[in-house]
Amino acid sequence: MKRLLFALAAASLVSGTVFWLMSGSEPPAVGVPTIEKTEEKVAEKPAAPAPAAAPTSAELPDAEAESFSRQLEAAALSLPTIDAIQALPKAAKHRPPPAVLEAGVKLGEIEDRVDKNPALAPKAAAFFESCAKNPHLALSVRAICLTSLRNSAAKHGTIADETGISAEVSQLAKKLQD
């Protein structure tokens, strides 16, 4: 159920962005606070890293955007929740579970896609942010989503809004990047 909620949130976020890209209008309020905060940050901090490769709707073909949305939706569905980790047999918890490693694959593939088409970076960043802030996901997964969010900011100039990310996620992400 929690995974489904996350997927729906990601899907609504993605579809909202797709609608925005298709319509060329202002992004709709889709009920995802991170989007609203991102807009505020943009307004407050014009000196933030310039999204040199940031897209305009004209640069992102519909088919590419839709395909990427589907990839993000599938990834959201596959990310393991804490409940899923705790439901594993005890011996399976002795080593990093396959679902956690598979989450690494999904995030890496998203980064691959963005590297090939930087116009996708804002959507990817929104996905990473949503993942990092989702309290139902495994802690390890949220942490690697946060590192992807930071990497995206550094590489593609997207906004990395870390407000609302729990301290334990931040601390774990720090261990990965120190």
């Binding site: 804490i82 980790i85 705790q86 594993l88 047999p89 005890k90 011996a91 399976a92 918890k93 002795h94 080593r95 990093p96 579970p97 396959p98 956690v100 490693l101 598979e102 989450a103 690494g104 694959v105 995030l107 890496g108 593939e109 980064e111 691959d112 590297d115 495994a138 802690l139 390890s140 997964v141 942490a143 690697i144 590192t147 992807s148 334990e168 774990l172 992400a173 261990k175 990965l176």
Partner: protein, 329 residues
């Protein structure tokens, strides 16, 4: 709370005791290999130092029965053997890792180069069995009244083992479980092997691992990360061959928080298997730099994130003595 967290579990011990009780009951004993060496209060071992650090480490010799000094049980599948061969070959090709000095201190090596890491593993692991090995067929009682154990009466606190019939085993250290089972019963057990005959399990350093198909649940798309995962797992399991008395086996403690809260899947010390594994994984991740694919890098990050949350840090957390109990024969 702290005491409950500090409770350390002896994984597989009770299962093993049951298995050994059955096999031992009908075996009628076996040859007495003689008393084990006693070493009540041995100082920490001299650090292993590679005198020729810059010489390349040749890829370990391997065939169907072994890679380097790691001996394969015939029941291992070619795919399982291949995982070890590939991982050790990958290690042989690895330049000296730029690692946290803490790792060098904990492993007692001067540098994290291929040879030092390989020696470190091979001094702790000798035999690799299949996960579905029938212990009743493979373990025999060599001495029913064996009183020469070091640190008599000092064993890690135990608890009930998990009933994990459905778990896919990646790898586990069977040697420490067999050793502790023998020590608890004042009996000396032996492992029947094809390559070395019956080997007395006179120390956790006898080095017996079980490997299962969990080795292959790692995403194949992450070609480099898979090898690092196997190496990190080997180092993790190797660490379980260390320690003496109450620290024998560096057994895991109940996690206080994180994804594994309430599970015996954490280290309650500063030098346990997860700590070493995290440092090694981080060194490989650092080595990745810009040469790794995004997928490899993120999978290594996932590995690192998973194990980095598995250390309990509180007032009782300290470095455990790691000198091994008993001697490998």
């Amino acid at each position: 709370m702290a005491s409950s967290r500090a409770r350390i579990l002896v994984c597989f011990l009770a299962l093993l005791l049951a298995a050994c009780a059955q096999s031992g009951g009908g075996a009628g004993g076996g040859p007495n290999p003689g008393p084990a060496p006693t070493r009540k209060a041995e100082k920490a071992p001299t650090p292993v130092v590679d005198p020729k650090p810059l010489s390349p480490d040749p890829s370990p010799l391997s065939n169907d029965s072994h890679v380097g000094n790691l001996n394969f049980d015939p029941a291992l599948t070619p795919k399982q053997k291949g995982a070890f061969v590939t991982a050790m070959a990958y290690l042989a090709q690895t330049d000296t890792l730029d690692t946290d000095p803490k790792l060098l201190a904990l492993m007692k090596i001067r540098r994290a180069d291929a040879r030092s890491l390989r020696d470190w593993i091979e001094s702790r692991v000798q035999f690799i069995l299949a996960a579905d090995v029938n212990l009743q067929d493979r373990i025999e009682v060599l001495d029913r009244n064996f009183t020469a154990y070091e640190n008599p009466g000092e064993v890690p606190a135990s608890s009930r083992p998990a009933n994990d019939t459905k778990a896919s085993v990646v790898m586990s250290n069977l040697g420490v479980a067999v050793y502790l089972a023998g020590k608890n019963r004042n009996a000396l057990f032996g492992l029947k092997t094809d390559s070395h005959g019956v080997v007395p399990v006179s120390s956790p350093r006898t080095g017996i691992l079980r490997a299962g198909d969990g080795l292959f649940l790692v995403p194949a798309k992450a070609a480099s990360a898979v090898k690092v995962f196997h190496l990190a797992t080997l180092i993790h399991e190797s660490r379980h061959s260390d320690g003496h008395g109450t620290t024998t086996g560096f057994l895991h403690a109940i996690c206080a928080e994180g994804d594994y809260k309430g599970e015996a899947a954490c280290d309650h010390n500063t030098n346990g298997p997860y700590v070493l594994e995290a440092l090694v994984t981080k060194a490989f991740l650092k080595r990745c730099g810009s040469t790794c694919t995004n997928v490899d890098r993120k999978v290594m990050e996932a590995m690192l994130a998973d194990v980095s949350q598995r250390q309990i840090i509180d007032a009782e957390t300290k470095e455990w003595p790691d000198s091994p109990e008993g001697k490998r024969r």
